[in-house]
């Protein structure tokens, strides 16, 4: 048992206080409070963990360890695929550091939690605004799990058990979708792409959709960064067959791209990390979940949602959690989802971010990203032997680079780039061998012209001496 050790986080660890309290409780030692834990389970030793350290020691140790990493400040990194480097305005950081917000929990007591509630209501409203929907929840874990939940929701609404999704989506998203849907007996069927444009193959969609199809899912932009042009047609096909239309988005594209609500999406999911949240090595992320204003949909929606209401005396407007009867703590095994803790603080960051950008900023940022993407594609296209992009449609943020004709592997190119202090794109070789030696590159507003030029020049140098 622990000797008197006073720790800064544990006010009552002072022996005198402990003794007084032990007396009040009416036992003779703290161990007595564990008397109902069977003896055989008492841990007879200390946990094999490091000894407690001072704050100063911790900082030195952890910062030294973290310094082994290299970051986007050390080298340009052209990685995206669902988590992308963006500038986070200082005002966003200032707000999410407010401890009244970050040290609170789920607003079970709305009267002392109006700040969080209103901020989340504003987040929901802004998500609705950019996606052109009317309803949103206050977050899912990430895009992948939001997609899993969306497909489950569609099957509950349609009483059907099949979903059609593009074959070319992020492999991790596809795996997550499988994990979420398999236990419910849902069959996920992949739909291929048109060879030239890389977009969803409409004929294949038509051939596969049936009266068993609960949902048609597309991503816009697609995993390969392509902007889907047949969205109205796809929506029509889905709805003609009584299926729901689910669209996955990059929210930063929605300043320039038609929003999914305008092409009749029933449910919108997406990755909100780009909205004012740092990459953090892939977590926390921010799962976007929105839908049409339709009570049937709303009742089946997963997760927490904040609603506007009034005080009991009717005098004042306020906010509280709404529709809790869908949720696990009330509906239990018949809940629309098991989600409890979500990514609320990331949603607050997203709200502050979108409020700062406003409609103009969001459009300008979208345009900037498109310009940089195009420019990067142009520069890389100048390199001999590089096939870029594989498909003809317009691109947003991400694009494919193929090295087949250069006689180099993605791996070789990556190694050489890294030697030149550049981190190339994500290899698609293992997940999509059909694309040959191809990598997925990502450019955003954080990549300067200089970064992009250097990438182009370095690729030229690396691939110049091709066989």
């Amino acid at each position: 048992m622990s000797k008197a050790s006073v720790h800064p986080y544990i006010p009552n660890s002072v022996q005198e206080i402990k003794d007084a309290m032990i007396r009040e409780v009416g036992v003779s030692r703290i161990e007595d409070l564990y008397s109902d834990v069977p003896r055989k389970y008492w841990l007879q030793r200390r946990l094999a963990l490091p000894r407690g350290k001072s704050e100063q020691e911790i900082r030195r140790l952890v910062e030294k360890t973290l310094a082994k990493n290299r970051t986007i400040q050390d080298m340009p990194i052209f990685l995206g695929a669902g988590c992308s480097p963006h500038y986070v305005p200082a005002a966003v950081e200032a707000i999410v550091q407010r401890t009244e917000l970050f040290s609170s929990y789920t607003p079970y007591q709305p009267e002392v939690s109006q700040g969080m509630l209103q901020a989340l209501f504003e987040y929901q409203s802004m998500i609705c605004a950019i996606t052109a929907t009317e309803v949103a929840n206050c977050s899912m874990y990430d895009w992948a799990s939001a997609l899993g939940e969306a497909v489950r929701m569609a099957t509950r609404l349609t009483h059907r058990a099949e979903a059609l999704v593009p074959r070319i989506i992020h492999p991790e998203r596809m795996m997550t979708l499988a994990a979420y849907t398999k236990p419910a007996g849902i069959v996920v069927n992949p739909i291929g792409y048109e060879a030239e444009t890389g977009l969803l193959d409409i004929e294949e969609l038509r051939a596969n959709i049936t009266e068993r199809t609960a949902a048609v899912y597309i991503e816009n932009p697609t995993f390969l960064g392509l902007i889907e042009t047949h969205v109205d047609k796809i929506a029509e096909i889905a709805h003609d067959h009584g299926a729901l239309f689910i669209v996955g988005v990059d929210p930063l594209s929605l300043g320039v791209l038609r929003p999914p609500g305008e092409y009749d999406a029933d449910i919108v999911v997406g990755e909100g990390q780009a909205l004012g949240n740092p990459m953090n090595y892939g977590g926390p992320m921010l799962g976007i979940f929105a839908c049409r204003d339709d009570m049937q949909l709303i009742r089946q929606m997963p997760g927490r949602t904040i609603g506007m209401t009034r005080t009991v005396d009717g005098k004042q407007r306020g906010f509280c959690m709404a529709l809790q009867t869908r949720e696990q703590h009330i509906r239990r095994e018949r809940a629309t989802s098991n989600i409890c803790s979500n990514e609320s603080l990331c949603a607050v960051a997203a709200a502050v971010y979108l409020a700062l950008l406003g409609p103009t900023g969001l459009r300008e940022l979208g345009e900037t990203i498109m310009c940089k993407t195009r420019y990067a594609m142009n520069r890389i296209a100048e390199v001999d032997g590089v096939n870029i992009p594989l498909f003809t449609s317009p691109h947003f943020k991400e694009f494919t680079v193929n090295f087949d004709q250069a006689g180099k592997t993605v791996h070789d190119v990556h190694e050489s780039l890294l030697q030149h202090q550049i981190h190339g794109g994500k290899s698609l070789c293992q997940d999509f061998p059909e694309f040959g030696e191809t990598a997925l590159y990502c450019t955003t507003e954080i990549h300067s012209k200089e970064d992009i030029d250097r990438l182009g020049q370095t690729l030229k140098m690396i691939l110049g001496g091709k066989s």
Partner: protein
């Protein structure tokens, strides 16, 4: 007297002025623009957004003031006592926040070459090992984003395990006690299981006879919180484990209450096969107003092969991400877990060490029993179940008698507590206690604050018997008075967004 800020702050959509901006997007370099043209040349007209989104237009200063005012209308752990039972509202150490803001973590991408993220991988590898040691499990996966996410992953592992024994077809039932948190049955259902509920006995523990008759060759597993949601240790855990395992099921540990037994006893040693931890509870990371949290799971040796991909390996020189796990259940999210949160847990454990974690457990239990002993004496309040037994980190008090004698319900008590400048306990959970107040002081608050809480509840009891109106009208000192929560969920008055509010003309 407590007075929360009352800004009557408008919605951000009602603030600002057309043309104002809060952030300037850097101009695209001239050469780039010349080379690629603008949006017009890049994006065909028909794919472009025609009407700009209805986002607010404010200057940076206005945005900041708006959200600062909102934050002033929010109560957090740094504001004061926050005994929200089951949620383990601990102090969030400031050094954790400083370290978590390091660009060495925030500005790294999950698909970076392993050689460029050795620092992060080292930390995650060590943390996973420490969590395995703390829980007595064989291997830990850091991937789940929250406790419920870990539970869902747990059900997938149960499926994979039974499938590997060719038994998935018949093992269709998951058992949970009636005192379980809602996520347990909900996770079971998401995992495709039929959920069976077993009652608690008069001691507040799993009724062994009921459990005996609930298990069968259809049993996939049992989900259990220990100490349970009454704060009572399931002292028959050995027998429970035997019953479940003999029936061929797996035992799942809901780690929401792990704080009570840190360094004292380990779920793995008690026979639990799968264990989740709520990092945001037990390891002091901020709850963020509802997340992000993190919910790693640890499993026994025989289940290790089912954990999600990738896992982190160390070859003595370097850390690697290993995807070679043919039996894995795959993935339940993108990337590797809520790294930003996990890093804070790492620094938290470094600060406390083995000894400090044990001290945290002990003091959290001492605090809970101290508060319980005092509350029991208050008129109108009762301690349901096992009067003579100590609680662990939390206790559940019933206001049923108070309600009967004064009409004041647990809800009213909780609202009145807010008036005194404290957060209230969890109410109406667990479901097996009428008019429940679930109190978890944690180790983070000083005796004086506990005494103040007890005094407040004492006052409220007196008020209930003498001037019940004061309690019924509470809260008055908060940013807003009592809210009509039903209205928020009624189809006609529901407004879940600004656009919905405008459309419905509310």
């Amino acid at each position: 007297m407590f007075r929360q800020a009352r800004w009557n702050e408008r919605l951000i959509f009602e603030l600002g002025w057309p043309g104002r901006r809060g952030y300037v997007v850097p101009k695209v370099e001239k050469e780039i623009l010349e080379a690629v043209g603008g949006l017009k040349t890049l994006l065909p007209q028909e794919l472009q957004r025609r009407t700009p989104p209805q986002l607010p237009e404010l200057s940076e200063a206005e945005v900041v003031r708006h959200y600062i005012r909102l934050s002033e209308m929010n109560y957090g752990v740094d504001s004061g006592f926050y005994p929200l039972g089951s949620c383990t509202m601990k102090y969030n150490p400031k050094v954790d926040e400083v370290i978590a803001k390091s660009p060495h973590i925030t500005m790294t991408h999950p698909y970076q070459d392993e050689r460029t993220v050795q620092g992060t991988l080292e930390i995650l590898y060590l943390l996973a090992n420490w969590l395995a040691e703390i829980t007595g499990t064989f291997e830990v996966s850091l991937q789940p984003a929250a406790g419920a996410h870990g539970e869902f992953l747990g059900t997938l592992i149960m499926r994979a395990f039974h499938k590997s024994n060719d038994e998935l077809e018949k093992r269709t039932e998951l058992i949970v006690p009636d005192s379980a948190h809602g996520t347990n049955p909900a996770s079971g259902a998401m995992g495709g299981f039929k959920v069976l509920v077993v009652p608690s006995d008069e001691e507040g523990c799993v009724d062994l006879d009921a459990l005996e008759s609930a298990v069968s060759e259809r049993t996939a597993g049992l989900m259990l919180t220990n100490p349970n949601t009454l704060g009572i240790f399931e002292k028959n855990i050995e027998r429970i484990s035997e019953i479940v395992h003999k029936a061929g099921g797996l035992l799942y540990y809901d780690g929401a209450n792990l704080n009570a037994i840190l360094g004292k006893a380990r779920p793995g040693d008690m026979g639990f096969d799968i264990v989740h931890m709520n990092i945001h509870k037990t390891f002091g990371t901020p709850h963020g107003g509802g997340g992000p949290g993190s919910g790693p799971i640890g499993v026994s040796k025989s289940l290790e092969r089912f954990l999600p991909i990738p896992r982190i390996l160390f070859d003595g020189h370097r850390y690697h991400l290993d995807y070679d796990k043919p039996h894995s259940v795959g993935k339940i999210r993108s990337f590797y877990g809520n790294t930003g949160v996990l890093l804070r847990a790492f620094t938290y454990i470094l600060s406390l060490g083995a000894e400090g974690l044990e001290a945290a457990a002990e003091v959290s239990v001492l605090n809970a029993n101290y508060v319980m002993k005092k509350l029991m004496k208050i008129r109108g309040l009762d301690l349901p179940y096992a009067l003579e037994r100590p609680r662990k980190h939390e206790c559940v008090i019933s206001c049923k008698r108070l309600q009967r004698e004064t009409g004041i319900r647990a809800l009213d008590v909780s609202k009145r507590i807010l008036d005194y400048g404290m957060h209230s306990p969890t109410t109406y959970f667990p479901l097996i206690v009428d008019e429940a107040l679930m109190i978890e002081p944690t180790e983070s608050f000083e005796k004086k604050e506990l005494d103040r809480f007890v005094n407040i509840v004492q006052n409220i009891s007196s008020e209930a018997y003498s001037t019940p109106d004061v309690v019924l009208k509470a809260p008055q000192n908060t940013a807003i008075t009592r809210l009509d929560e039903a209205k928020a969920s009624h189809p006609r008055t529901m407004a879940l967004s600004w656009i919905m509010y405008q459309k419905r003309n509310l």
